[in-house]
Symmetry: C2
Subunit: 526 residues, 2 copies
């Protein structure tokens, strides 16, 4: 029987608060520091390691976190989730994104369907469709091959798939896996769709309309934009569009689309990169085998995350260290810093994943909680960030915990030696240097040049960013966010906070406003 | 005589802390709310207004902020800055970015040169060069016109110019001002340069190397990357590259460049968009007249910011409200939310501008301060952000102050009517709705659907995003950050916090490491 309890009712949380805090600068110095870096390390899968040496933890803190994991029943709750319990209580839904990439537990049957079979069948349908597009069996009306795929979607239908596409675009080009260029239209700002449409050859483009409900305002509006453009080019829109939606949506059986691929209510938008939402665009762009590799990487980490031993479970440990930093040490935000230009939009995806999942003030029963929950998440790739906001991270008045990501090898393989090192070596040298600079600091009599250190970070180190390691990275953070939601006792799978804005926007458009809203509407010429 | 005093030594700050806090939800409701929206509004220039109705201020708070502005001598310090005082005390430098766009005070003579004349002369040299490129008078060795310009730079040489380029790209295309496509190479990750080089026609590309010192590691490395690519294409690099640098840098007189344009030590990287750093790439991309318009917009706001009346000075008011939110109300971060896809990278620029300027723990004399300074800054364009992190902004446990930006008209002019409204109307309806949703909230018996409100925001409303309004927006935030630095008594114009990482990275590359740094280097295969 699962106990869903608030964090501040757990005895282990009270114990955790009493553990003496760790002085990061001290423990990371000298040979002790070297030992920590060697030991505070957990393999996530082949070619990917989570290292938490520079976090403010020691044996005592880790022991307390292990107790918290146990008392909060994190693994049991995860088991319950992947075995098909109604974990999304607010919306009374199962939470099944892990099932898109593997079967961790029992068969999950919902709505009379084995859900693993359902997700696999959609992957197979997408693979078949993508293969036919690539082979020139599915073409435009003139019998010519499609060269570009455009995803129309917003939020989870945009950020995750876009970040994954950008992460693999260069890898695919180098590895002969690049099939079609992908573009993305998301914003209701008409200039977004117009600019993308101006940049492509619509006659050879296939559009993916992604909306679970089939009612997302931005997405339907942008669909019309695209249909207009196709009509103006004398093209039959229904030969250029496919839909990714739920089987019950109005888009599912419409003749407006060449094909429709299905997701369901058990996969939240921000968790949908491994569903048909990411599957269609990534399979078209890179081929179904690349998407399958991506899923395999995610599945491996989903499995790693089932380990009850905290020190062998990087997802659970990362989650608990985050809770410790947020609730005990009192740090309000976290930066995600991938040293990889290919991960340029990965922080934007994690921003949604984390902040939309755990930015909640009520527990899963709708009762207000008396502690802070999800932090602000932000980030940019290194080394760019070093020349931007790192000043504040090093010397600002607030401490911001850091999540680095680095790879030994780059994707494209072109490099240049300057001052006896390659660019890739410089990139890696910088991330190593930053971790130690943040942790240890450096005393200087000139206080303006003084670095206090004590600024905690962890790093995920990979051999190379590939479909498999990308899938693993994605699953790492999905599972981390899930575990944190369990600790905070919030429902990480709904998003009631986005509703009020929608309601008021409709009122503005219907000119049914008064008070401040009416004046703002006037000022904005609506 | 200027008094440079810490915030917590000012009597007016103590008074400010005693003023009764404003209940945003209450004051923004009903007809009172409507009146506030009408009244709490200041013109920044023609076609641009700063509205702060939804901020947690009232007559009493505003009066206290006005006293603080006076006691902290904000206008006097600004005057001192633009008249050429050594405001950047740590580096013993003048701070002259405003002088690139206008003369607000006395002639400023430094190093024997009238600096306004110097900046104007560089603008003229750039204009002449750009006009010749556009006219086909300066061409590649084959006598063919250049079609692409690539900026090689990082930090301030990248983020600002890139954000400005993206902000005006579509506007320029529609208004017949688009001369050349611009691309940017910044990261030392070799995949950044390789991907950009793979995406362009190097034979028709002109590269701008931007480095004030001429020694920035990333930029010099990427220059070599580009030179390799040019050599491989059988091209003479010196016919394809120009430099933007200081007159004393090794790049200034090198034969490696077709031309060199100059900046100086009195313009910090993050304040350099209106100098030659932004000027070269924007003049080449859009023509010198567009860049001149951009400067004119910035100059207008620089002038507005000289107004001693707080209620007629949006830059100073925005700054003081930010300080009130940070130091009195205790909010640790701020989100920048432009409802304009063209401003997609504007938040990333502001992130550098703000966090690198005011993320400091010591005052301008190098003494530790006992209060918090610059906040974490993050943001994405709306409506995209609504489907991402707004959940936390609406219902998270921390309050995040918000800075909206919205325009009545889009740039491209294409639009589509769905459900009786255009996309532009939907975009504007959403920003209006969000302000009121954040401010007023909405009570619901289901606590999960309850919105407490009281989440403060301001909005800058413009007619359209044009070169002029973009310049104004840039200057608004530059001046805001400057005023906040004055209030916090920090030096907003140095960045000592970036140095330690550089030193350690060099040590890693020289294999002169021990302890933790050595182990990280090994783990990363350096």
């Amino acid at each position: 029987m699962l106990n869903w309890k608030n964090l501040d009712t757990l005895a282990s949380y009270e114990e955790l608060k009493k553990v003496e805090p760790v002085n990061v600068a001290e423990v990371m110095s000298g040979e002790n520091g070297a030992e920590r870096v060697k030991n505070y390390s957990i393999p996530m899968m082949d070619g990917l390691t989570y290292n938490y040496a520079a976090k403010a933890v020691d044996e005592k803190v880790l022991a307390a976190l292990a107790k918290l994991a146990e008392e909060a029943q994190l693994i049991e709750k995860y088991e319950s989730l992947y075995n098909g319990a109604v974990i999304n209580t607010g919306e009374k839904r199962l939470v099944l994104h892990q099932l898109t990439r593997g079967q961790l537990g029992n068969d999950v049957v919902a709505d009379g369907v084995n859900k693993r079979d359902f997700y696999v069948s959609q992957q197979e349908r997408i693979a078949d469709f993508a293969n036919k597009v690539h082979a020139g069996e599915i073409t435009n009306a003139a019998g010519e091959k499609f060269t570009t795929v455009v995803q129309i979607g917003i939020g989870g239908s945009d950020l995750g798939p876009r970040a994954m596409y950008l992460a693999l675009e260069n890898w695919a080009k180098v590895n002969n896996k690049f099939k079609m260029e992908a573009k993305f239209i998301s914003n209701v700002d008409p200039d977004d769709a117009a600019a993308v449409l101006n940049s492509i050859d619509v006659a050879h483009s296939i559009f993916i309309l992604v909306s679970k409900s089939g009612t997302t305002l931005e997405t339907l509006t942008n669909e019309s934009f695209v249909k207009d453009a196709l009509a103006k080019a004398g093209l039959d829109a229904s030969k250029h569009m496919i839909a990714v939606t739920s089987e019950t949506s109005p888009l599912a059986k419409s003749d407006d689309y060449l094909a429709a691929f299905f997701m369901d209510d058990y996969i939240g938008g921000r968790y949908s990169s491994s569903s048909a939402v990411g599957g269609a665009v990534l399979s078209l762009a890179f081929g179904p085998d690349v998407f399958a590799e991506f899923l395999a990487g995610a599945a491996e980490v989903d499995k790693t995350a089932t380990n009850k031993d905290l020190l062998k479970n990087p997802e659970m440990l990362d989650a608990l260290i985050g809770v410790y930093e947020r609730n005990v040490l009192g740090y309000p935000s976290t930066a995600v810093l991938p040293y990889s230009q290919a991960l340029s939009r990965f922080p934007a995806h994690l921003q949604q994943l984390d902040m939309e999942s755990n930015g909640k003030s009520v527990n899963r029963f709708g009762e207000p909680v008396d502690y802070v929950t999800g932090p602000v998440i932000f980030g940019e790739p290194g080394t760019n960030g070093q020349h931007s906001f790192y000043q504040l991270l090093h010397q600002g008045t607030d401490i911001v915990p850091l999540q680095f990501i680095g790879f030994k090898n780059n994707q494209i393989g072109t490099d240049v030696v300057i001052q006896d090192s390659t660019s890739q070596q410089k990139l890696c040298a910088n991330v190593a240097a930053q971790i130690v600079a943040f942790a240890c600091g450096k005393a200087d009599e000139n206080r303006n040049k003084n670095f206090e250190g004590g600024r905690p970070s962890s790093i995920i180190i990979g051999e190379q960013l590939t479909p498999k390691t990308l899938g693993a990275l994605l699953a790492h953070f999905e599972n981390k966010v899930m575990f944190q939601g369990f600790v905070w006792n919030v429902n990480s799978f709904d998003q009631e906070g986005v509703q009020l804005g929608k309601v008021l926007a409709k009122r503005v458009l219907a000119h049914e406003t008064d008070g401040a809203l009416k004046v703002y509407s006037d000022l904005l010429n609506i």
